[in-house]
Amino acid sequence: MEPFFFSEQGRKLLGLYHPPAGFAKDSGVLICPPLFGEYMRTHGCLRQLAIELAALGHHVLRFDYSGTGDSAGDIQDASVSNWLEDICAAAKELQAISGIANVALAGVRLGAALAVSAASECRAVRRVVLWDPVDDGTRYLQGLNDTYEALIASHENLTPADVQAARNSTTGYALTDPLLQSIGSLRIEEACRAHANRLFVLLTDKASFDSGCWQKRTPNCQFFEYDCNWPTFSESVVFGRSLIKELVRQV
């Protein structure tokens, strides 16, 4: 693995390149991580996914969006449009490092929504794999907010001042109104339709699968039984070997 920083419009992003082990295929995979607590919970899983894909000969790049993880900036300066640009910049970076022509995007949760939304802007993208994509930004934020409120409510030691301070900091990350609005307005139905023939969706949420809405968007939709427990403030990591194997197969 080779870590490095690269720039997109002056924003410094951390990239982690996994070169292919042995015979190199003419394809690369850009992993688009989820955000907030889900980012921390899936870090090890996505690292393992990258290692296994590289072992099969793929060039793989993981990265952190601007204002998140080890990339420069604060979440207060972040926006969905910046994150979409970050994905395209990372895809170009992967091409530049490896010399490959085709890139697959593999996104998780909000990262999946961003990946499919960015796919039209990134010319190199030939395949998009989504793991439990966030379908509706407003519902996603509501889920984050509900778990945050539950966290506050379950905390016996908070003073009224603490509760007030906690409520002033949306979802615990002090998200700005413009960022909340841009996440809230994310809808991916149209983007999914535009990329239906190269879209692969893996759902671990039975209710989402049973609703049938994903099967209408792509013939390549599959249910995989694994309890990811999103969204949550739980620190339990998401790391299933069988799940990783399935993702490798999809990519």
């Binding site: 921390m40 690292r47 506050i152 603490d162 403030f233 620190e235």
Partner: protein, 280 residues
């Protein structure tokens, strides 16, 4: 959140034979004091819970400290070391990082910062490495004292809320037991989960640390309530822990273990930075 708007130079480096992943923040202005090394919290990678380590590392960098947030072997992006014990692995990582920061920045003394298992690791390293100049233990070790027990049980006797909570917990447990007998999780306190050393061994280690470590800051949250409940308890439990400088204790009972609330993260970061500023 971090309060640092200007970007500081940060480099990603792989250190030593096991490629210990580190993000090194380099101070923009004049350098100050020892180098700072942030050790992983639990299974989390170097970013820390809710980006706590990133903000802390950058704040300390802005204050003039060379700061490395690292993934120790087997965590984050650093592979596990083969054929060594966990303690040996940790020390090899630490020595490699010190050597790298030493050769690049001329640093010879270090401040170790860790949350949860990171605090345990920092404590373990400090008890065997003389180049540890400062320790920041977030929900680190402490011994239960008579005053701890008095406060612990006193608060339960005279306040209604714990009785209500306890009754509720018992009812919930009973109902779970009725629903499915094997569904119940063990009720382990943090001290039991983390395998803290026994008090005589901990005392011995603190005495060793006193000989070379100049200063120590310990921050405790609600997660420590099963073994810590008042400021000053660490030194009450270990009166022979006397570094040359100060031992500062901060208790934030409203904060949760991983600081999910932004204003508690801010308090923790500001407390650490204020403490660090006293290093010459």
């Amino acid at each position: 959140m971090s309060g640092v708007r200007a970007e500081l130079p940060e480099r990603s480096v792989l250190i030593g034979t096991n490629s210990v992943f580190s993000i090194v923040t380099e101070p923009a202005a004049a350098r100050r004091g020892p180098g700072v090394i942030l050790l992983n919290s639990g299974l989390l990678h170097r970013v820390g819970p809710s980006r706590l380590y990133v903000h802390l590392g950058r704040r300390l960098g802005a204050l003039g400290f060379v700061t490395a947030r690292i993934d120790v072997s087997g965590k984050g992006d650093t592979p596990r070391r083969q054929e060594v014990t966990a303690e040996q692995s940790l020390l090899l990582d630490y020595d490699d990082v010190c050597s790298s920061l030493g050769s690049r920045f001329g640093l010879q003394r270090f401040i170790l910062i860790g949350l949860c298992s990171g605090a345990d690791d920092a404590y373990a390293v400090a008890s065997v490495r003389e180049n540890v100049a400062g320790l920041v233990l977030l929900d680190g070790y402490a011994a239960r004292t008579a005053r701890y027990y008095f406060r612990h049980y006193g608060s339960r006797v005279f306040h209604l809320q714990p009785w209500i909570s306890r009754s509720r917990r018992i009812l919930q447990r009973l109902s779970r037991t009725v629903r499915r007998a094997d569904d119940d999780e063990p009720d382990l306190s943090m001290a039991e989960v983390r395998n803290f050393p026994r008090t005589p061994e901990a005392r011995r280690r603190f005495e060793i640390i006193s000989q070379h470590c100049e200063r120590c800051l310990c921050v405790y949250t609600s997660a420590s309530q099963t073994y810590y409940n008042y400021e000053g308890q660490l030194l009450d439990g270990f009166p022979t822990f006397r570094p040359r400088g100060d031992v500062r204790e901060i208790y934030i009972p409203a904060a949760k273990h991983t600081y999910p609330l932004a204003h508690h993260r801010r308090i923790a970061i500001e407390s650490i930075c204020e403490w660090a500023m006293d290093f010459s």
